[in-house]
């Protein structure tokens, strides 16, 4: 088997195993609560007030029977596993709908946030890290180290507060929520076609530059909030690699041959910075996806994390919580996989390994 394929297979085989372990533990937690309490979640909200105690108990028994709430743990767990394959991921009482559709409906929102954060931080992080490392202790390096320190020590929510205060309240440049009110009305009209669900793309496909501008007005702050920390970590990795690389002989030889400084950095050294940076990017991407909820909540985006946040103080809603966990594991692994492929594309050592087999 080619190494890349082997790698992929191993990654994807491990996922079900760890998901199995985690969901088993989570589901075990649900089972600690009495079936009657869980049945209450499924009670219709417009319950007739005149029902007697006995009738309510009857109804509860019916619900317990219908949703298999009194079965032993492995059986209930098995029922949940089965829903993973029929495309519903179970019915969530607190969302009042099936889990997968409600996750998918919110996916474009979160995807936009995560995607643009990565697109923003990667070029910027690589550039500033390489430049800072190449001119060690220069003015830019000092500036970079200072701001990277500040960026990593500011918690995201405090950054978000400061941004809101400056750019929303004072300057009025950007705003929270996903779109402005009037644009929201535009979006619900027949004339606006939804292709991908990602408003930055859809607005362009519809030829609506005004909507495109408005969407960016709302995206700017959360994207910046999400990417600042990871910009600093990526930049540090790139900087450290450059510091390491620039002492090597190929750099000296390139210079001796009279290669222009710029192309020593961006052609010779840069290639060697990519591999370690990709690792750092993969970790950043994972942590942006698992941490996107902070921006979603503070900036009022109805993203994926809303699926579980609303049900905070309710009765354990296993399908929603478990579905959310499974979902974000999938997202992260997909990203990791893409970055691995990128790594193979950029790193001849990996690529050669692939080609040889």
């Amino acid at each position: 088997m080619p190494p890349l394929l082997q790698f992929v297979v191993r990654r994807f085989l491990v996922v079900p195993i760890s998901l199995f372990i985690i969901t088993l533990v989570l589901y075990g937690g649900v089972m600690l609560t009495p079936p009657e309490a869980r049945a209450d979640l499924y009670m219709p909200s417009n319950l007739n007030q005149n029902l007697t105690e006995e009738q309510i108990a009857n109804l509860r028994e019916q619900i317990i029977g219908r949703y298999h709430l009194r079965e032993p743990f492995p059986v209930q767990y098995f029922y949940w596993i089965k829903t993973l394959f029929d495309g519903t991921w179970g019915y969530s009482p607190s969302l009042n709908e099936e889990v997968l559709p409600s996750l998918l409906r919110r996916t474009p929102v979160t995807l936009e946030l995560a995607l643009y954060s990565m697109l923003f931080l990667v070029p910027l992080g690589m550039f500033s890290g390489v430049v800072a490392g190449w001119n060690r202790n220069g003015r830019f390096d000092k500036f970079f180290r200072g701001s990277a320190f500040l960026a990593t020590s500011t918690p995201t929510f405090i950054l978000a507060l400061v941004l809101l205060s400056i750019f929303y309240i004072n300057l009025g440049w950007f705003a929270p929520e996903r779109v402005s009110l009037n644009v929201g009305l535009e979006l619900s009209k027949e004339s606006f076609k939804h292709y991908t669900g990602m408003l930055t793309v859809d607005s362009l496909l519809n030829g609506r530059w005004d909507i495109f501008g408005d969407v960016w007005k709302h995206l700017a702050m959360p994207v910046f909030t999400l990417s600042l920390y990871h910009w600093a970590t990526l930049g540090r990795v790139a900087r450290a690699t450059v510091l390491n690389e620039r002492r090597k002989e190929y750099v000296i030889s390139a210079r001796a041959r009279g290669v222009a400084e710029r192309s020593v950095v961006w052609k010779h050294v840069y290639r060697n910075v990519i591999a370690p940076s990709l690792t750092s990017m993969a970790l950043s991407a994972a942590s942006i996806i698992t941490g996107v909820f902070v921006a979603e909540i503070i900036f009022d985006f109805n993203g994926v994390s809303n699926v579980i946040v609303d049900a905070m103080n309710g009765i354990p809603d296993a399908p929603a919580a478990l579905g959310f966990a499974v979902y974000s594991v999938f997202m992260v692994l997909l990203l990791m996989f893409l970055l691995d492929v990128l790594q193979a594309l950029f790193d001849p050592r990996v690529r050669e390994g692939v080609l040889r087999a």
Binding site: V14, I17, S153, F157, F293, G314, S328, M331
Partner: protein, 318 residues
């Protein structure tokens, strides 16, 4: 001794050391620095009128001003140090123990099974803490409700109201909140990874081979040889984590998803006065600055301590 001298030869390490010492002092001496109101003990203290919606500037009653509704700023700031230290140390302690044992075991087993164990650890990275928190929060609610109590989160953090006697289970529920447990379960992987990488190198080394040849049981080898030898990097990680988990705790509390960070709650209460009126973040500086500086200094100090330790414990630098 040489390591200690090396550690204290850098000014950053002095800052970290003094700041952490300061936090520990504040945490221990909190009842003396800012005594509780005997009628309403707790990290929050009301010194002004509850009906006062505006945060009032510092005066003689409140040396650092007030949050909205007459809440003192100084009192929770002091008690926040205690909460943060407790939370950070407890979470880091359990996380590190579990991660170190897991990594050492995986390294010792080695081969394919050890590799699988590390793959499983890796895939934990993809699971968001928030899923665990929400889930456990729901579990807490139900369990406590089933026991006849009440569990809810208000602006000061989670509240448990119970009728009847204190049972061990309730005691546990009060000590360990959902956020704490989720963080322990979902942040041990770096420890496992780092210990594992050292252990697989060690396992091949002669002295471990000798220990095994002498008939040492795996546990004995782990305890006597592997853990002491891989402790230094784990210690560095742990020092950074203490600050990291406290920042996370403040974040979770601020966005209203569990956790009982006192500093985070202060910012959540003053939120509308930080971003709202007055023209800038600093118009009501006593609402914004004290908890922000406390949280950030806490994170930075532990981070710097980690950097200092990693430098001092590195065998090549000493």
């Amino acid at each position: 001794m040489r390591r200690l001298r090396h550690f204290f030869s850098r000014w950053q390490n002095w800052i970290a050391f003094l700041a952490i010492l300061g936090f520990i002092y504040t945490a221990v001496a909190a009842p003396q620095i800012s005594p509780d109101d005997p009628k309403r003990p707790g990290p929050f203290l009301r010194v002004g009128k509850a009906t006062e919606g505006r945060p009032l500037p510092p005066d003689e009653k409140a040396p650092l001003g007030m949050l909205p509704h007459g809440q003192d700023v100084f009192h929770p700031l002091v008690w926040g140090a205690r909460g943060a230290l407790q939370f950070g140390l407890i979470v880091t302690f359990f996380t590190a123990i579990f991660g170190i044992l897991y990594g050492a075991l995986a390294g010792l087993i080695g081969g394919r099974s050890g590799g699988w164990m590390m793959n499983i650890a890796d895939s934990f990275l993809a699971i968001p803490v928030i899923a665990g928190v929400v889930f456990l929060q729901q579990l807490w609610t139900t369990t406590i409700t089933a026991m006849g109590g009440l569990y809810y989160t208000n602006q000061f953090g989670p509240v448990i109201e119970i009728v009847g006697p204190m049972t061990p289970i309730i005691w546990l529920f009060e000590r360990f909140n959902p956020l704490m447990i989720s963080l322990i379960f979902l942040s041990w992987m770096p420890y496992a990874r780092i210990v594992h990488s050292i252990v697989i190198l060690l396992v091949r080394s002669d002295f471990i081979q000798a220990a095994r040849a002498l008939g040492g049981s795996p546990w004995w080898v782990i305890r006597k040889h592997l853990i002491p030898n891989s402790l230094a990097p784990a210690l560095v990680l742990a020092a950074r984590d203490v600050g990291g988990v406290v920042l996370l705790q403040a974040t979770f509390t601020f966005v209203g998803i569990g956790g009982d960070s006192i500093w985070g709650s202060m910012l959540a209460q003053g939120r509308n006065w930080v971003i709202g009126p007055g023209g800038s973040v600093l118009s009501y500086w006593w609402v914004f600055l004290p908890p922000t500086i406390a949280v950030m200094l806490f994170g930075v100090a532990w981070n710097m301590l980690g950097d200092g330790l990693s430098d001092a414990l590195d065998p090549q630098s000493a």
